[in-house]
Symmetry: C2
Subunit: 112 residues, 2 copies
Amino acid sequence: MSTNPLLKGTLQTIVLKLLEDNKEMYGYEITQKVKETSGGGIVLTEGALYPALHKLEAEGLLETYTQIIDNRVRKYYRLTDQGGKEVTSKVKEAGEFIDQLQTLLNLKPAAK
Amino acid sequence: MSTNPLLKGTLQTIVLKLLEDNKEMYGYEITQKVKETSGGGIVLTEGALYPALHKLEAEGLLETYTQIIDNRVRKYYRLTDQGGKEVTSKVKEAGEFIDQLQTLLNLKPAAK
DNA sequence: TTTATATACCTAAGAAAATTATGTATATAA
DNA sequence: TTATATACATAATTTTCTTAGGTATATAAA
């Protein structure tokens, strides 16, 4: 698996945004969704994802319930009210950062 | 100063790209240039920048020379040949990552 | 004159957030 | 029966920051 130093710091925002769009998801589902949506470019490792989910839950941004499907455990996560507020500001922050980074790296599409 | 978790992983790429565009710069100059270009949104702390510069030099991507200006020391950095190659691939990587992240976070400008 | 700010370098301690490597367990396809 | 997919988790380690200091000169303000 590719070491992706660029991923650092964006994992939480990605997770919160996916849960905003999908109401509820379980961990494995998140890894698959991210891989699919990013065309395989972004791969969440379990060692990063699960601790991140636990942290977000401990901070009160996510809440969970567990379900058994086909004799296997699934832990579903969804945003709390506080998580709903956080996702908005984190996505906004990420957007601003991306904008500044594109400027610095000269990645802006040519102005019309 | 703002804690910026999004910065993680992009510092090296920013430094290399600035040195590609400016031939040579010294550390303090880099911090000012980044602050200015990003509209104050991205602030490089010295505790992050100097170790990063030293690491890039140790890896052979940067070379340096020191100069005294107004009785003060300035250490100029510039890309080595290897650094010149690296910057191209790192900026490309960053561009792809940004693209994928924008997709995940629904930050894409509306398609025409 | 002395104090604050800007310029200019640096490092060390600690925290945050990953990677890498495991471990457990079930279902299913080869 | 073996490999792959599904599904959770944690521990050790590494990377990369933040925070907090330290040294030193030039200049503007009080």
